[in-house]
Every structure is written in C-alpha cells, then in structure tokens.
C-alpha cells in the first residue's frame, strides 16, 4: 500500500522554467512533509520541509505548497537550472508505534535542459 503518491514519474523542463512535482497522502497522522533531492551516486538529501500548520514555505527558488484539506502538497522549483537535474522524493512522517518512520513517494526524475 503506497501511502504517499507522487507524480509525475519524470519531468523535463527548459532552463528558466518552473518545475512542479505533486504528492498526495492518505494518513492524516502525518505531521511533517519533507522533500529530498538525490543526485546519481549519492544518498537523498533534505531539500525543504513543511508542517501542516502552514500552507506554503519558500527557501530560495524552492517552494512547498500544502493543502491540508485535500491532503496534497507540491514542490515548485522556480527558474529551474541544469544543476537541479536530480531525482526528487516527497515524504511524510508520522508517529508509528514508538518510532517515527518516514514514508517516501516513488520519486520524480527531473531533467532541466540547458
């Protein structure tokens, strides 16, 4: 059962364009929503995160939009650059028993063309 659904699977954007990746979740116990960026040969690294008490968080060119009622959140990359080409994972965190476990979306392969 996939608790966090991510789309699209792949995305190609021209340099300077806006990249948008969407995620939806089912479990209302999720209370922390990070995005991870993964370059080839590297582990995922935290990019930006949001809690459900705010609808938007911006850090530089990266913005998370969060819709609690729709149980959806998205990552917007403004002025996309070739260096942004990577795989992006949305995730959600909830208390599960006595441990907090991060559930990942299926990933989006972003390619930014020069």
């Amino acid at each position: 059962q996939q608790q966090v659904k991510q789309s699209p699977q792949s995305l190609i954007v021209q340099k300077g364009g806006i990249s948008i990746i969407n995620c939806a979740y089912e479990n209302t116990a999720f209370d922390y929503f990070p995005w991870y960026q993964q370059f080839p040969g590297k582990g995922p690294a935290l990019l930006i995160a949001i809690r459900p008490d705010v609808s938007e968080k911006k850090e530089g060119r990266f913005t998370i939009s969060f819709n609690k009622s729709a149980k959806q959140f998205s990552l917007h990359i403004m002025d996309s650059q070739p260096g942004d080409s990577a795989t992006y994972f949305c995730a959600a965190l909830a208390v599960s028993g006595s441990a907090r476990q991060l559930t990942f979306g299926s990933g989006t392969q972003l390619t930014v063309l020069p």
Partner: protein, 111 residues
C-alpha cells in the same frame, strides 16, 4: 567529514553468499535506519533502530538482520543472497529534532 558513512560503496557477490554492509554516523543521532532503493528508485524502509527498539518492516526477509554494536553503528547482514537482493542500500540516521541524513549508499549486485 562524512556524517553517515557506509562501506563498501560497491559489493558484487554470488548467489548464496553471506555479506555485510557497515554504517557509521558521527552526528550523535539516536536512531538509525536501513533503506533499500530498487532499480526504479523506490525507497523502502527495512529497519529502524535505536538503543531501545528495533522496528522491522514485516516485508523484509529474515535473511536480513541489523546488528548495532553501539549507538553510532548499524550494520546490515544478509544471508543466502538472492538475485532479487540486488539494489542500492542506504543507511540513514536522525534524532528527534533533526532530519533524516542518508549515507551515499552501497550498490549490491548479486550474480
């Protein structure tokens, strides 16, 4: 200074063998994890472990076992390797107030 380090980076072995992957974190985190990333890049949690509790994903075969000699280390032992075990394995760590930090992965190839 690598925060979460894994060795080896690449591991090629034959079916039926037993192998181990080591992981160390120098962040002072209290919880460590093993994730498996398949060929489609999907990340699946295998284990989470702190000093008090081991949480095992019920879908992980019992051929896989984590071993933690101390708070900064969580090694992964795999017995009787199968072709389907080929994947990239990531170690990660976090604490209550810190985000999840990943190592750079171990690419396991079973032939």
């Amino acid at each position: 200074d690598t925060a979460v380090s894994q060795t080896p980076k690449y591991l090629v072995t034959q079916m039926g063998n037993d192998k181990s992957i080591k992981c160390e974190q120098n962040l002072g985190h209290d919880t460590m994890y093993w994730y498996k990333q398949d060929s489609k890049k999907f990340l699946k949690i295998m284990f989470s472990y702190n000093n008090k509790e081991l949480i095992i994903n019920e879908t992980v075969p019992n051929r896989f076992s984590p071993k933690s000699p101390d708070k900064a280390h969580l090694n992964l032992h795999i017995n009787s390797l199968e072709l389907g075990d080929s994947a990239v394995y990531f170690c990660a760590s976090r604490s209550r107030l810190a985000p999840l930090h990943f190592g750079n992965g171990t690419r396991l190839t079973v032939t």
